[in-house]
Each structure stands twice: as structure tokens, then as C-alpha cells.
């Protein structure tokens, strides 16, 4: 089906855990598992398949090229993350809240599930992973290990060599020793004296010793020892954090302990001593998770603003992976930068982030407030609340205010884009532009052909709107600065919204229940509209063919369209509109409503009261903001229904700060390209294997030149078919290594018969063409069926093998290999 909602592109706050196998960073993100390259920060792969939030990921301890993932959809999936293929799916049945895969457990993993019949009670169970032939297996063999555990994955840890498991909840710690079947419980005092709070926040175990480290709500870290004695257990305390310890991690040898929290400082404790510690400060935002690479060379921290920082073992910042930064509150709205087409919104505290939708990366972060942000709860600090771009993006206006409710400290800043430095430069700073909160701000949106036409309007709760214009400074350099030109008000009502008509001749300002329309040349009040009862929540002018209409939404649930020529209501509809967003490139206007716990989307043209597109139950979350992002090129859209999305793409931001978009393609269509991705050969790090491979490729290229053929710069063409085959075939369908070995070795030999090389090259070309043909029509389900049939086919072939192996392989290759390229 077409038009399904796309999964969140970037989301914060969901359970994320990273595992490092050598040089990949794996991260659970929403319903997906992302694979990043540690060296390039690129997202190599997005592994989708879970139907709900991924709650835990763990490397398969017996095969470090495989990954287990658990999800709220009740399944555990085993992935080959090198190729992004789901190998097996184990259905457990109940919600899985956390996943653990200690190496000591032979064929089982541990998950946290809700206890049946009891609300908010969870238990740790071991799941025996059945060894079946099929891809989808049932995992019903559960045995309860611990009862009454915390639902967060940070509340359970497995000890040295999986000998014991520790769970913390509230002020209680329990340790279960598997071999001795002994359960020890320890409790701390619940008294909160002298600012102390003994509640546990996280737990980790020492990798080689019997030592448990726990983090606490008051910032203490306790190191427990001797916990196999019920009475003679003991602990020591490390205390640096002033607020909750969010996560802990031991180094591979266990000599160092890393801790992080709200302070945005990574603390490294040496030898469990409180006197020897190192700090990595200014990490930008509170640390949520800490993870160590398996070789101990790197560690990474995940922050509350949805960013991953990679840190060297000597506690030096290495690099950071950041997509959409999650800020505490998106007050600026979703704004599109006309220059870069990036989405602009609140980023780090006091910063404006420019987020590239194409690359899922932050382009840059502009420090607006330019003040040190202190990471401490309850402090009133300045933050960015409003932002506006001029039509061509040369001017940027920002408003920042302190969090004081009664007397906000306001600042209006105007920034000019400097072509030389490729960044915004502060031009004018206006202190207290209004006496109360600024509610809206807009530039006169003409194409800036004449510089004079550029004006800025701000509306405030101090019952006025102000018009700001550029004036030339008296100094000889002829710089410009901004000053107030006109102050308008209407019956002493609070000004709530403002917008300019497309040609810039009219300004609409809403004052509580009334919309006023002003002539932008003379600043005369032209006419007023209202639709009582209820205040005006949003207003916008129609565009292009509909520019004679003014649209307004009231908080009493009415969407009104007024005709500016007749000064009369054209039509109105009963709709609780939360977001009203006009498309800058067409006459379409998107309205998002919120009713009975679901958001719905309506797209209409102001000249017709009937919406041209309705999508009810768009999502369960409340959509707070929306933005039309112009496409680089108008897309060819087959469906009439989505014709309005031809020139722009519509993005939404929900109250959980998930960014969503409306896709014109079906789910299958969208998943296909990702599952077609080839092996990671391009981003392979420099290893002996890659050198060997590279050498091999060069050799081949040389051969080609010797043969008098032009050197083809396509990497696929350069690689030997045998090697390519080896690399591109999914591991689970490959024949045995002994079978492949000879072919591989042969391919490395300098061939004397040029003819055979030609043959191979030809064949590959034919194949790749064929593969392309096939792939267009392919979809996921069909492909899976093909997978299985080929496994069987290969099995038969290996039985027959007795003669020259190379000949046999040719036969196989001639059969049908189109599916290989699909991976």
C-alpha cells in the first residue's frame, strides 16, 4: 500500500545500546538498529525488521559478526550486521524490555519481560534459542532467573564469566550465583539525609574480579565486594557527581571505571580509588549511556540530545556522530534554511542546529545565546525561542529569553550571512525589543530584489507588534543596522501571530480573537476578521492562485478562510488545528489536527473547502510542528493523491521529538534499496585482508591493461568474480570453506591463460545487467523465498562435487545468481 508513515528518522530517548565489534558501532534507534563506521562516522546500514522499539542489542558472544536484538514486539532477531541480513527471528511472545547475552550461556540469552498478572513488575528470564532450520522460530522455553527486576537494561548486569547476575531496583541489590543457586539481597537505607539518595540508577560488573559497581541517584558510586557473604559484604564509595549517575562502564581489564551523568562530564576512575580520577568535560549534554569497545581502544557516550561521542582510551575526544539533536524543548519551530534547505531548530542549549535531511547529519550549530550553559536542574538560563530567515537566507533573526516567567530578559538578534566565512555574523543586538514574551516573528518575504523591501515584524504579549527596518549607519563604511520603525496595536489585545502576504503588501497580525490586516507601506489598518469565540491560534495567507485568501485557526476548533477582496468569511470548518503550514512553492496548505489521542493530516487549497488529501490517525503522538521542505527537483509522482507533494516534502515533529515525513512510496519500495546494499567493501578499514584484496584488484586492473582493454574504474568490475562472490554472498548460504578455498586460491594466482580471465569478466557483466533487471520488480517477500530455494540448490550441488571443482562452480554460476547482487 502506498503512503504509509515512515519510521522515525531520528529519535531520542529510546533505549539505545552500542556494541563495538572492531570498527563498527551498532546502535538501537527507534525500530531500527543502525550500523555506523567508527572511522568515518557514516551510517553504513539501517537494519529494520522489528515492528516496535528495539530495546536491546548484544553481539553474539560466539560469533562477533552477529548481533542479537530484542524489541517490544516480542521477538529476538539474530542479524548478520556486516550484510544487514536478519538470520533468525525468535518469537518469545511477551514484550522484551532488555536483552543480555553473556558468553557463558551456550544457547540461551536473557531478557526482561513483564510478569504476568502483575503491573509494573518485571522478571529476568533466560530464553533457550531453539536450533531449528527455518528462519522464524518459536522460543517458548523460558525460565525465570530473577523476580522484581528493574525494567531498564541498566539495572541488570552479568558478572565475571557469567557466574552471577546482579539486579538493582530502588534501594535493593540482588545477586544470583548460577552455579551455587544462591540469591543474596542487600538493601541500603531509604532515608534521604544530607541530600543523600541511595536509590540505584545503574549497575555494572567488573570483567575479571568479583566486584560490582553501582550508580546512585545522589551521584555516588559504590563498589561492592565480598557479596557472596550475606553479612560480611563490603563496599567503598566514590563520589564526584552532584546528580544521578546515569551510566557506568568498566574498561576491558577492569582497571578503569567510567561514569557519566547530568554534568556532561565523563569521569574516569583509576584502580577504584577516589583520589585518582580524570575528567573529560564539556561533552555538550547529559550522558545517558556509556559503552566500551571489545578491544578497549575506544569508548562511546550517548547523550540525551541524541548524539554519540567516540572517545579514545586516553580520554581524548575522538569524534561524534550526530543526527538530529534532541533539545529540551523545540521553541523555535521547524524552519527551513532557504540557502541549504536544512531544517533549522533548537539544538544544544542556546544553539541553532542546521540539520541536513538528506544526509541525516548536522550541518552546523550556531551559537546564538553565547553564554556558558550550566548542566544543572532548576537553573533559569537563557534559551533561543524564535527564529526567522529572510527569503534568500541572507538575514537571520533570533529571539532569546530567560526562563523567568514574569520578567523575561529578551534579546532580538539579527545575523547577516557572510559569504566569505560561510557563516552568520551578528549584525544587530536589540535588548528588550518587547516588554513581554515575543509570540511571533516574520520577515517580509519578497525576493529581496530591493534591499528596502526587507522588514521584520515581531509580535509580543505586551499588546503591540513592532516593525524593524534596516538603516544605514553614519560611519563611512556604510554598514547597516536594524531599528524600530513602527509600533502597532489593536485595542490593547495581546498580539499572537503575524504573517505577510506573498507579495508583501499586506501584513496580518492576530490580536487574541481578532485578525487585523495592515497595509505594509502606510501601516494603515485595512480590515479585521474574527470568528468568536476563541483566540486565533494560527494564521497564514494563501499563495499563488489563492493569494486573496487568509486562513486562520482558532483554539475553539475552527478553521476559517476569509476572502480579502470581499472581507467576508469564505468558508469555515470544524477542526482542532494544531499546526497550519503553507507550502511555499504551491497553494497547498497542510493542517494537522489533534483529537482523541491521534493526529490527523488535512491538505487543502484555500479556494476549495474540500481537502484534497486526508490522512486520519497519522500517528499516536501529538504533532507539534510541521515544515514543507522544497525538493531539489520536482518528483514524478504517479499517484494523484500525492500530487501535492511534488515540489515539497512535508516533515513533522512530534512531542517526543521524533521527526517524521510523509512518503509517497510504499513500505516495500522503501525497504528494498536498503536490503540491496552491498557488502561494506568501500568503507572497509585498512586490514591485512583489505590489503590483500586491494592487491588482488590492482593485479586484475593491470592484467586488463596488458590485455589492451581500457581500465574500467568501476570497483565491482575490478574485483575478481571469485572474491566478489565470496564477499557478497551472505554467510548463511555460502558453501563450506573447504569448497571455496581452492577457487579463492586459484583466483589469486597469476593466470597465464588470458582467455579465462576474459571469460570471467564477460560473465560478470552479463550477470550484473541481469541483476539490475530483476531488482526493479523485486520485493522483499519474494527475495526471501528465493534465498531458501538457493540454499537447497547449493546443498545438492555439494553432494555431486567430485570432479574438477572449478567446472562445477561454473555450472552453479550459470544457473541464476541474480539474487546475489540484491545483497
Amino acid at each position: 500500500k502506498m503512503g504509509r508513515r515512515s519510521a522515525p528518522r531520528a529519535c531520542g530517548g529510546s533505549a539505545l545500546r552500542r556494541v563495538f565489534p572492531l570498527r563498527y558501532l551498532l546502535c538501537a534507534s527507534g525500530d531500527f538498529v543502525k550500523v555506523y563506521s567508527v572511522s568515518t562516522e557514516e551510517t553504513l546500514r539501517l537494519m529494520g525488521g522489528h515492528a516496535d522499539l528495539v530495546t536491546g542489542i548484544q553481539l553474539n558472544p560466539h560469533n562477533h559478526m552477529q548481533l542479537y536484538s530484542s524489541s517490544l514486539d516480542g521477538t529476538i532477531k539474530l542479524w548478520d550486521f556486516m550484510d544487514g541480513i536478519p538470520i533468525k527471528t525468535f518469537t518469545v511472545g511477551s514484550k522484551l524490555l532488555a536483552l543480555y547475552a553473556p558468553a557463558s550461556a551456550e544457547d540461551s540469552v536473557f531478557v526482561v519481560i513483564p510478569k504476568k498478572g502483575e503491573r509494573d513488575t518485571f522478571q529476568l528470564v533466560s530464553v533457550k534459542l531453539a536450533k531449528g532450520a527455518g528462519q522464524d522460530l518459536e522460543a517458548k522455553e523460558l525460565s525465570v532467573v530473577l523476580d522484581g527486576v528493574g525494567a531498564s537494561m541498566k539495572h541488570i548486569a552479568f558478572g565475571r564469566e557469567g557466574e552471577y547476575v546482579v539486579s538493582v531496583k530502588d534501594v535493593n541489590l540482588q545477586v544470583y550465583f548460577f552455579k551455587r543457586k544462591l540469591l543474596n539481597r542487600f538493601s541500603l537505607s531509604t532515608l534521604k539525609t544530607k541530600g543523600g539518595d541511595n536509590n540505584f540508577s545503574c549497575v555494572v560488573c567488573h570483567p575479571t574480579e568479583d566486584c560490582i559497581a553501582t550508580g546512585h541517584a545522589d551521584g555516588k558510586i559504590r563498589l561492592w565486594r565480598n557479596f557472596h557473604h550475606r553479612k560480611e559484604y563490603t563496599y567503598s564509595t566514590l563520589h564526584w557527581h552532584h546528580d544521578i549517575v546515569m551510566d557506568l562502564a568498566f574498561s576491558v581489564e577492569g582497571t578503569r571505571l567510567l561514569s557519566g551523568g547530568v554534568e556532561s562530564v565523563l569521569v574516569q576512575w583509576h584502580n577504584e580509588s577516589s583520589c585518582q580520577k580524570d575528567f573529560l568535560p564539556r561533552l555538550g549534554s547529559p550522558i545517558e549511556y556509556i559503552s566500551m569497545s571489545s578491544d578497549g581502544a575506544l569508548c562511546c557516550t550517548l547523550h540525551t540530545d541524541n548524539r554519540i561521542t567516540i572517545i579514545n582510551s586516553n580520554l581524548r575526544f575522538s569524534r561524534s556522530i550526530q543526527g538530529l539533536i534532541k533539545s529540551r524543548d523545540v521553541k523555535t519551530g521547524l524552519v527551513v534554511d532557504p540557502r541549504t534547505k536544512a531544517l533549522v531548530l533548537n539544538g544544544e542549549p542556546g544553539h541553532l542546529q542546521f540539520y541536513s535531511l538528506q544526509s541525516d547529519q548536522q550541518l552546523f550549530s550556531l551559537d546564538i545565546v553565547q553564554r556558558q550553559y550550566i548542566h544543572q536542574a532548576g537553573l533559569k538560563q537563557s534559551d533561543l525561542v524564535k527564529v526567522a530567515f529572510s527569503a534568500r537566507g541572507t538575514w537571520l533573526a533570533t529571539v532569546e529569553e530567560s526562563e523567568e516567567v514574569t520578567d523575561p530578559e529578551l534579546q532580538l538578534k539579527l545575523w547577516f550571512y557572510n559569504e566569505e566565512t560561510q557563516s552568520f555574523k551578528l549584525n544587530t543586538r536589540i535588548n528588550s525589543p518587547h516588554d513581554n514574551h515575543i509570540t511571533d516573528m516574520c520577515f517580509r518575504d519578497m525576493n529581496e530584489l530591493e534591499e528596502d523591501s526587507l522588514i521584520l515584524v515581531t509580535t509580543g504579549r505586551d499588546c503591540v507588534f513592532k516593525v524593524w527596518v534596516m538603516v544605514e549607519d553614519t560611519d563611512p563604511e556604510g554598514n547597516v543596522s536594524w531599528s524600530c520603525d513602527f509600533v502597532g496595536s489593536y485595542h490593547n489585545y495581546q498580539a499572537t501571530n503575524c504573517c505577510f502576504s506573498e507579495d508583501g503588501s499586506l501584513l496580518a497580525v492576530s490580536f487574541e480573537e481578532t485578525v487585523t490586516v495592515w497595509d505594509s507601506l502606510t501601516w494603515d489598518l485595512k480590515c479585521t476578521f474574527c470568528h468568536p469565540p476563541g483566540n486565533i491560534r494560527n494564521i497564514c495567507f494563501g499563495r499563488q492562485t489563492c493569494s486573496k485568501y487568509l486562513i486562520g485557526a482558532t483554539d475553539y476548533g475552527f478553521l476559517c478562510c476569509w476572502n480579502l477582496l470581499t472581507c467576508a468569511l469564505e468558508w469555515s470548518a470544524h477542526l482542532n488545528v494544531v499546526v497550519l503550514q503553507p507550502d511555499p512553492l504551491s497553494e497547498h496548505i497542510a493542517a494537522v489536527s489533534w483529537l482523541s489521542k491521534e493526529s490527523s493530516l488535512f491538505v487543502f487549497k484555500p479556494n476549495e473547502p474540500r481537502p484534497i488529501y486526508i490522512q486520519r490517525n497519522l500517528c499516536k503522538e501529538k504533532i507539534l510542528l510541521a515544515a514543507f521542505v522544497p525538493r531539489d527537483e520536482p518528483e514524478i509522482i504517479s499517484s494523484e493523491k500525492y500530487y501535492w507533494l511534488r515540489r515539497s516534502q512535508l516533515f513533522f515533529l512530534t512531542d517526543t521529538q521524533e521527526l517524521m515525513t510523509l512518503s509517497t512510496k510504499s513500505l516495500e519500495e522503501r525497504l528494498t534499496p536498503s536490503s540491496k546494499q552491498l557488502a561494506v567493501e568501500e568503507s572497509l578499514p585498512v586490514t591485512p585482508f583489505s590489503l590483500l584484496l586491494g592487491k588482488h584488484r590492482r593485479q586484475q586492473a593491470q592484467e586488463d591493461t596488458e590485455l589492451g582493454k581500457p581500465v574500467v574504474h568501476n570497483k565491482q568490475e575490478q574485483a575478481s568474480p571469485a572474491v566478489k562472490e565470496l564477499l557478497h554472498t551472505p554467510a548463511h548460504v555460502l558453501p563450506s570453506a573447504s569448497f571455496l578455498c581452492t577457487i579463492f586460491i586459484n583466483s589469486l594466482l597469476i593466470s597465464k591463460e588470458n582467455k579465462s580471465a576474459e571469460e570471467i569478466a564477460d560473465e560478470v557483466e552479463v550477470e550484473s545487467e541481469k541483476a539490475e533487471d530483476d531488482s526493479d520488480e523485486e520485493d522483499v517477500t519474494e527475495m526471501e523465498q528465493e534465498d531458501t530455494s538457493h540454499t537447497e540448490l547449493l546443498g545438492e550441488m555439494t553432494c555431486k562435487l567430485s570432479k574438477s571443482q572449478e567446472k562445477e562452480l561454473r555450472k552453479i554460476r550459470k544457473t541464476d545468481y541474480s539474487w546475489i547482487s540484491a545483497f
Binding site: 575479571t208 568479583d210 565486594r225 557473604h229 553479612k231 563490603t234 567503598s236 580509588s273 583520589c275
Partner: protein, 512 residues
């Protein structure tokens, strides 16, 4: 503290070897030797280090504190060490197995305790508690070693020494206060008025600071005493014993050192004048009591050396009639001497607890003994046996509230008006023990004085018991009866000397 071990050769360990760059001098404040041959050192960098005794190599180093580590003590099992630091914090290091069931063990710093504001100069490790001493003494039970919750599992804090630091000249109404390096002699004020209970009477003569006597040299004063008549004053330091003659001429007071004091084997642990101020008893560290005869106008001669004690004598009690002298030695044996014929009279049956105070009743010559576990015993010297009342008390047992007190009885005296009254005090209470009244049992209230006051006369009679306790004066350093109508009580408010202490080590506290 030092630990002695006969070394075959001298091994020199340079503790500050690794921190030479710091250009601070490293001082090793304490060492301990483990049976495994490991030397443990505590130094001014706050480190506790474990050295191989023969090689002189560093095995482990634990930085327990950012300030100096001053004292060390090892448990008997050698699996736990307590360290005292200059910030007043004590830390415990434990020898714990690295892996469950494994043989490898490692010292791990575990619990920190902060019970002191200043230097922890001395620490001790008992099987079930950590004991630390600085400006106060703290006994911190190790909960994991205490078998049952109760009296033993309670943290105990002692601010005052369990020794008598004040002596009183009853007849001359003088008080002698012993400080660490000086003595102060005060004359008590007096009043001629009378008033009701609780009333503060106006003084007709103000208390008067007569003289301050500074001890020579750096040594601390060990013990001191003023004679009942107020004309003799003696004190002893660790190395020397001094005797002075006090002369009152008009308002002024002059002290004259008594020449040719017999050379005694130092140090003296206790000084006691006889009731008639004719002789002075000196308890020596070698287990003997020297009897000095005081001669007018200012001389003395050694009369007798009473032997018999195997350890140092630390408490003395002469009888009022000058007939008997009781001496307590370090092995807690109480020897009674006959002073008339300078003969050893008898030994009081030994009890397995230290004697905290003792006194001989002036009329019956019964020896009243208070032990540190709060037991009370009355022993008849002439009959060489426990008195009937004492046996009754033993068989009945003392009240639980009495036994669970923290502070031991430091002084015992008697009421000359009523021979049945024994006056006792510790740091927190003053008790009149009336032998004529029934003993209380655990079901009755021990400290019942305030409730008794509210009862009518007849009901009050029924509720009366032997222990009449007053907690009005705290902390109580000394109490004595001057005469039949006059009781002197010395209080020492804690704030008085807390303000005189130097500032504690500066520490940055978050949020201050």
C-alpha cells in the same frame, strides 16, 4: 605507633621515592608489620603502602586520602587495616578475595568513616570494632562482626578521659585542675544565704584563681593532687615527680618547691594524700606504692615502699583513718595494705574487668569498687570478704539501664551524715546510692527522680529505690562533698575547648 621485629639486617625503604618531583617532604607517620613479612606504611601524602620487607619493594599503594595518613592498626587476623587521617576521617582497608573462592587476595579500601573533626592520632582494631582517637575517642562496631543487634552494635563516642583530672582540698576549699601542661589552683566562692531547690544563690565571695603552675619541658602532666588541707600539691610527668608547698599569705598564694624529693622510679601513675595530709602515696609504674612522709615546714622523706603488685598501679584509695590503702594494678588486681604496720593485707578477688574507681568508707572501712562494665562491689577490708549488701546486689543484678551506660564511674565518695549513702559519678550523671533502700529491677524506671517529685508522699515512699540519679550537670568532670552541707561539682562545657582547637584541615565541600 611502631612495630618491632628483630631484623637480620637493615633494609631501608625510601617511601617518597616516586614523588620527588612534588618537592614536598613525605613523612611516614605510622608503620605496621604483617606476619607475611609485609611492611605497611602510612604517610603524609595520604597513602597506605605495602612493602616487601626483605626486598624493600613496593607491592601495593592505596591513596586513601588527600591529606596525611597518621595512624595505622591491623586486625588480629590481618585481614583488615584501619587508617586515621588528618582530616578526621578513618578508612578501612580489607583483604578480600579477587574472585569468589579464589586464593588470590587483594587489599581494597572499603569503608570511610568521619567521626572526628581533627587529626586521628591513634587507631586500634578490635575483632568487632574500629577504635579511633583524636580529640575524641570513637568505637565504631563492625556490623558484619557483631552477632546480634543491640548494645554492642552501637557507635560510642567519648569526649573526656576516664580519669580524675580534678582534685579537691576539702578543708581549704581549694580545687586543683589538671591540664595537659599546666595546673590551676582555684579557691571556691561561698555564699551565706540559703534557698530552695533549683535556686541560684548570690555569692558573698567570688571564686578565685590562685595560681597557675606550668610544667617544665614538653612533657604532659600525668597525674596531680592537692592535699585535703590545701598546703601540699604534687604532680608527675612521665619522667619527674614534683612536690610543692602552698602558702597562703593574706590574699596571695605562694608556691615553694619541696627540695630533695626522694628519687622515685618514674613515672607515677597516681598521687594521693592521706586524709590528715601527713603522708603522700605515689603509685608507680613498676607496681609499687611509695609512702612519703610530709614534714613541716616543707620537706619529705620516703617512709615505705609497698610491693606486691605485678603491674603498674593506676588507682589508689587511702582510708580516712589512715589505716588502709587500696591499690589497683594494671592486671586489675586490688591489693589492700595495712599502713599501721606496712603490711600487705589482702587481695580483693579479681574480676575480669578494669577498675574505674574505688574508695574506702570512712566509718566502716568497706572498699567500694566500680568496674568499667558498670558493676559495683562492696568489700569489707577488715573481714576480707564481700559485704552482705554487695552479695545481694550481685545476686539480684544491676538495672539494665545502669549497665548500658557508656561512661564509667570515675569517682566515689561518701556522705558523712549518712553512712548508707555512696556518691558516684560519671561524665553524664551523679548518683546517690542509698544502701538502705530496695534495689530496682528492670521493670522499674531507673532514673525516677523527676517522676517521684510529682507523686504524693505515700506513693513516693513505695516507688523509692537505691539509685537516686541526677543528670543536671553535663559533662560532669568531678564531684565531691566538701562538708556535710556542701557538694562541689565541676562541669566542663564542650564548647569551651572546642573553640580553643585549631581549625580543621580545609576541605572543599561541594555546594559551599
Amino acid at each position: 605507633s611502631t612495630t618491632w621485629h628483630p631484623p637480620p639486617e637493615v633494609t631501608r625503604i625510601m617511601v617518597n621515592h616516586r614523588v620527588e618531583k612534588a618537592k614536598r617532604e613525605c613523612v611516614v607517620w605510622a608503620i605496621a608489620l604483617l606476619s607475611s613479612g609485609t611492611v605497611v606504611s602510612a604517610d603524609s601524602f595520604g597513602r597506605v603502602q605495602f612493602w616487601d620487607w626483605q626486598q624493600g619493594t613496593l607491592a601495593e599503594s592505596h591513596t586513601v586520602s588527600s591529606s596525611a595518613a597518621l595512624s595505622l592498626a591491623v586486625s588480629e587476623k590481618e585481614d583488615s587495616i584501619v587508617v586515621g587521617t588528618s582530616t578526621g576521617a578513618t578508612y578501612q582497608l580489607q583483604l578480600l578475595p579477587v574472585k569468589l573462592g579464589g586464593l588470590e587476595k587483594r587489599w581494597v579500601r572499603t569503608k570511610p568513616f568521619q567521626y572526628h573533626s581533627h587529626d586521628v592520632r591513634a587507631v586500634a582494631h578490635s575483632p568487632s570494632a574500629l577504635i579511633s582517637g583524636g580529640t575524641t575517642l570513637v568505637i565504631r562496631p563492625l556490623m558484619e562482626k557483631v552477632q546480634k543487634k543491640g548494645y554492642d552494635a552501637v557507635l560510642r563516642k567519648f569526649t573526656f578521659p576516664h580519669r580524675r583530672l580534678v582534685s579537691c582540698a576539702r578543708k581549704a576549699r581549694l580545687l586543683l585542675f589538671q591540664f595537659s601542661q599546666h595546673l590551676e589552683l582555684w579557691r571556691l566562692g561561698s555564699t551565706e544565704e540559703t534557698g530552695k531547690d533549683g535556686e541560684v544563690l548570690p555569692l558573698c565571695r567570688m571564686p578565685e584563681h590562685l595560681v597557675q603552675l606550668k610544667s617544665k619541658g614538653p612533657e604532659h602532666i600525668y597525674c596531680s593532687c592537692v592535699s585535703p588541707c590545701g598546703t601540699w600539691l604534687g604532680y608527675s610527668t612521665a619522667s619527674r615527680f614534683h612536690l610543692y608547698r602552698v602558702r597562703c599569705d593574706g590574699d596571695g598564694v605562694s608556691l615553694r618547691k619541696v627540695p630533695k624529693v626522694p628519687k622515685l622510679l618514674p613515672p607515677a601513675y597516681q598521687l594521693q594524700f592521706s586524709a590528715d595530709s601527713d603522708s603522700l602515696f605515689v603509685a608507680s609504674a613498676r607496681g609499687s606504692v611509695h609512702v612519703l612522709q610530709l614534714l613541716e615546714p616543707g620537706g619529705c622523706k620516703l617512709l615505705h615502699i609497698a610491693c606486691g603488685c605485678s603491674e603498674a598501679v593506676y588507682l589508689l584509695a587511702p582510708s580516712a583513718d589512715g589505716h588502709w590503702l587500696a591499690a589497683v594494678s594494671g592486671d586489675w588486681a586490688i591489693h589492700v595494705y595495712n599502713l599501721k604496720c606496712f603490711k600487705h593485707h589482702c587481695v580483693v578477688p579479681t574480676y575480669n574487668c578494669a577498675v574505674s574507681a574505688l574508695a574506702i568508707h570512712p566509718s566502716t572501712n568497706n572498699l567500694v569498687i566500680a568496674y568499667s562494665d558498670q558493676q559495683l562491689v562492696e568489700f569489707s577490708i577488715p573481714e576480707k570478704q564481700y559485704t552482705g549488701w554487695s552479695r545481694a546486689l550481685q545476686s539480684r543484678g544491676l538495672h539494665r539501664a545502669w549497665l548500658e551506660r557508656d561512661s564509667p564511674i570515675t569517682h566515689i565518695t561518701f556522705n558523712p551524715k549518712n553512712p548508707a549513702h555512696i556518691l558516684l559519678h560519671d561524665t553524664y550523671l551523679l548518683c546517690v546510692l542509698d544502701k538502705s533502700l530496695p534495689l530496682p529491677d528492670d521493670s522499674t524506671l531507673l532514673m525516677n527522680q523527676s517522676t517521684l517529685k510529682q507523686l504524693p508522699e505515700t506513693a513516693r515512699k513505695r516507688q523509692l529505690h537505691a539509685f537516686k540519679i541526677c543528670k543536671k550537670f553535663q559533662p560532669l568532670l568531678f564531684m565531691d562533698l566538701l562538708d556535710e552541707n556542701c557538694l562541689v561539682v565541676v562541669e566542663r562545657p564542650i564548647m569551651d575547648f572546642k573553640t580553643q582547637l585549631p581549625m580543621p584541615v580545609q576541605q572543599k565541600k561541594f555546594g559551599t
